[in-house]
């Protein structure tokens, strides 16, 4: 069974304090690893898709990387508006390419 584990469950940072979120996965036939951001009371918002080990993508203060077993979401000099739950999901091959999500990491950035 496909498994996605995110750590830590919660992370508190001071504004400007860089850190990383981890997403480890056990799947067969990975067809993409997705990062989403979810604000309270809202649906997940797409951030990145990574397809192969060694791939990196950046967006403002966020950088996502992928290895054969895990992905990291690096947050550089975070601001309070980066506070949210960050969800990782994997898509495997098959007839429907469905997403399997992790439980998420709740990030709080204090001013």
């Amino acid at each position: 069974e496909d498994q996605v584990t995110q750590s830590p469950e919660a992370l508190r940072l001071q504004e400007g304090e860089s850190s990383s979120l981890n997403c480890s996965y056990t799947v067969s036939g990975l067809r993409g690893l997705f990062w989403y951001r979810q604000d309270p009371g809202k649906g997940p918002e797409f951030l990145f898709t990574l397809y192969s080990a060694g791939e990196e993508k950046e967006k403002e203060r966020l950088k996502a990387t992928l290895t054969k077993k895990e992905s990291f979401l690096h947050i550089t000099a975070p601001k309070p508006e980066d506070s949210a739950t960050y969800l990782c999901a994997v898509r495997v091959g098959g007839s429907n390419y469905k997403l399997t999500f992790g439980k998420g990491t709740l990030l709080t950035v204090n001013p």
Binding site: V4, G32, R91, G93, S95, K98
Partner: protein, 115 residues
Amino acid sequence: EAGVAQSPRYKIIEKRQSVAFWCNPISGHATLYWYQQILGQGPKLLIQFQNNGVVDDSQLPKDRFSAERLKGVDSTLKIQPAKLEDSAVYLCASSFSRLAQDEQYFGPGTRLTVT
């Protein structure tokens, strides 16, 4: 471009009652998904439609949950009868197709509380 629309945003019902949720996907998106997100967990796929046909409903509790997507556009998800453990946020998402490279766009969700 208008996003995925869902209604109602909130619903409180008693156990054993029935409830229905509505979703209008992004125009032109052939694939529609319903997810259940229990507090503190990631979304779990309940059912996936390609146009008006079901692609995957393996995690849908079919004894109480049903969903339809008539005419391949709007969709409704129904729970009858509801149980306490059905309390969750029900998210609708859509994508252009079900190919691996297509990202899914999520609606704001319906928060269901079963008392």
